[in-house]
Amino acid sequence: MISRKLARSLVLATTMALGMTAAAQARDLRININADPEMIDPITFSALIAGDVLRNVYENFTKVDENGKVLPALALKWTASADNLNWRIELRPNVKFHTGRPFGAKDVKASFEALLAPGSKAGLQLQYLQRIVGAKDVQDGKTKDLVGVKIVSPLVVEVAFTAPDVLFPIYPFMFFDTQVVADKGPNWFMQTSAGTGPFQFVSWQRGQNVQLKAFKDYYGGAPKIDGLRFVVVPSEETAVTMYEAGELDVLVPASTDLSRRIMRDAKLKAQAQMTPNAQITFLGMNQNLYAPFKDKRVREAFCISIDRDAMTRGLFGGLAQPLYGQITPGIAGYNPSVKKIAYDPERAKKLMADAGFPNGRGLPPLKIANLAPFRNEIAYYADQWKQVLGIQVDLDIQERATFLRSLNAGETPFFSWGWSAGYPDALYYLSQVWHSKSPFNRARYSNPGFDALIDRATITADDATRYRQYHAAEALLLDDWGTCGLFMRTAVTVVKPNVKGVVLSPMRILPYGKVTIN
């Protein structure tokens, strides 16, 4: 294995030395990921790194461009009925799955049914299907047929809802060829690829890399590169060196430390792309697991003890801005007049004293949990709480998969975390993270007023009205100090100058279908 690599690098070196750079290179594009993807199959999909990989393999009705604008992908046209209880979706013709079979309305229905099947362990996508007529019956195992989805013709599907679901077409589904489950069994995703995206899944060598190869029959045109290799590099220093040594083409930093370092290195900075990241960050204070959090004054005290300005200047080196609410600027439904959170240590001290914990006395032991790349953030918060409130908060650095699982189980009493927008609408943040019925409400926050507003918003078709409902819901959440925003990072990506077509959007790197390497 080593000698093949050596041979290849020798050939590459010779080629470049001979100045033969005119022709575009057909080889793999190498990108780093800082941990293994959490999963590799579209059904259980629910997490970030998996998303970065799978976005290139599976597609949805729509896609987003670098400005957050919604464009057609597998669906060319979508129309809502007058009462908003029905969506008619016209699909793109001549789309093939990686398996060779054609994509059509039957596959939309079959994908939904696979997600809803009992014991499917379905992830994010399951929630988007809750309002479809007959969904509950399929979930309960009463039937395998999702009656709410009607196959009108091979390329037209009509979906009926129990209540209006205005954002249905932009929900990020991952349509796959369900036939493959019958062919290859329940672990099909480790052996074969069944999406429609520009790249197909080839292999996943745990701890090493995920290999994708170009899909020649992609409807948008075959990619000009051989494939994608997502290299697992847990150590950021290693990733930088690999990038500089030419072993990576795209460098994606995970920690703020590395982003800062990149911007301070002239050579790396010149090759860097930056964009604000459509990701909210927040403090998760689980009131069921840590009693003092039940008191609103305690929650507020924790929130206002953090100097967001100093943090974004110092820790992030300017590569972030303070986030006060739970919607990021640039996403549909953002409230520019959201109330700012001032750094107020005096008020924080008073609140804690009022709540019965003067100078932190009497508080049970407390730990804040997060991952290793973000240890600096929580070290800063912990220190602030110690300085301002007199509370000793220990740091609980966990491993990614364990952390996510315990978050999802609602077992983490105190943490800081984020949520990246899956589609360009504030509903994504508000409903997924703070609605009491969402499985991804990791702090298990429950506010009936908030829930009611969100429920109403999901059936409001008029954008302006809906956005007002978002603002109201957000205000309820923030006034109750159910959480507080922390910061909005500027995403940084470094790309080799001979690589073109890598697009960093607020919703992470777009699929690499149009990348060329010179």
Binding site: I2, K5, L6, S9, S46, P118, G119, K121, N187, Q205, R206, G207, Q208, V233, P234, S235, E237, T238, T241, M242, A245, E247, Q398, E399, R400, A401, T402, L404, R405, S406, N408, A409, P439, F440
Partner: protein, 311 residues
């Protein structure tokens, strides 16, 4: 001789048994229920929970699980990983299996000649500046932990001088710094031993006789002394190899090498107990087998063992 070998083999047994029992116990009596952890947000899903429990065999009585575990070990089956549901442990570690022993073997190959040479040199130049200098270097080599050494080496050779890559595992250059860093403490340990043995041997009667007879210094050193030093050195190699194997744990983490050591650490944090335990078993096995092999070798080489009746 056969009695000796058999006795040594018998000594291996309790270690392996202890390893098996300990790893099984650790696997079962861990904090938290692994199935609950695996379910994550599907916590209330009873159908799924039952399915997972059956898949992992956790719904049977402990004694049955133990028998299954042991018979599985005999077949080379370490069970299923917790972190990657449904994936056998053997699959998680099979690609990494050859890397750690390879690093350790390379380090040993480097350490033996360097260590012996340094030790002999120090012994021959005893009490001179060279001796003291070498001793201090050796102590430094033994005392500075390998990750601290790595910090200095990477800063000096990789970043400042640019001779070697900082980390990774694709070309032969990636192996240099890790192997060197592994070899240093081993070489230092061997050098000190070599020096001690050499000093003892040089005092022996037959060496003094050879010197008195006027034989050249070189002949004295090579023919008469060195051979006697090599045997005890050999016996220590087993111990050293064991230390090297565990040293790979740190080195692989630093240099991002996808070996067993790195997987062991990751699996601890990921609470993937089957994988952790499998690697613990393997490392213990390596260690025990190497020591056994060295013991046998020693028995073959040292005539006293061959003749001896009962210890």
């Amino acid at each position: 001789m056969t009695a000796y070998v058999l006795r040594r083999l018998l000594g291996l047994f309790p270690v392996l048994v202890a390893a098996i029992i300990l790893t099984f116990a650790a696997n079962r009596f861990v904090p938290g229920d692994p199935i609950t952890i695996m379910l994550g947000d599907q916590g209330g899903n009873v159908v799924l929970e039952r399915k997972l429990r059956a898949e992992y065999g956790l719904d049977r009585p402990v004694s049955v699980q133990f028998v299954d575990y042991v018979s599985g070990l005999a077949r080379g089956d370490f069970g299923l990983s917790f972190r990657y549901p449904g994936v056998p442990v053997t699959q998680v570690i099979k690609d990494a299996l050859w890397i750690s022993p390879l690093l350790a073997a390379a380090a040993l190959t480097l350490a033996i000649p360097i260590g012996i040479a340094l030790g002999v040199l120090a012994a021959l130049r005893r009490n001179t500046l060279a001796d003291t200098g070498i001793i201090l270097i050796l102590v430094a080599g033994l005392s500075i932990p390998n990750f601290a050494l790595a910090a200095f080496f990477v800063w000096g050779f990789a970043l400042k001088l640019g001779w070697f890559p900082v980390a990774g595992w694709t070309t032969w250059k990636h192996a240099v710094l890790p192997v060197v860093i592994l070899a240093i403490p081993a070489a230092a340990y061997l050098a000190r031993l070599a020096r001690t043995f050499m000093l003892e041997v040089l005092q022996q009667d037959y060496v003094r006789t050879a010197r008195a007879k006027g034989l050249s210094e070189r002949l004295v050193v090579w023919r008469h002394s060195l051979r006697n030093v090599l045997v005890p050195i050999l016996t220590v190699c087993g111990l050293i190899f064991g230390g090297l194997i565990t040293g790979t744990i740190v080195v692989e983490t630093i240099f991002n090498i996808p070996g067993l050591g790195r997987i062991a650490i990751e699996s601890i944090f990921a609470r993937d107990y089957p994988v952790t335990m499998a690697i613990v078993m393997l490392f213990t096995l390596f260690y025990a087998v190497i020591n056994f092999a060295v013991d046998v070798l020693y028995g073959l080489v040292d005539p006293r063992i061959r003749v001896e009746a009962v210890r």
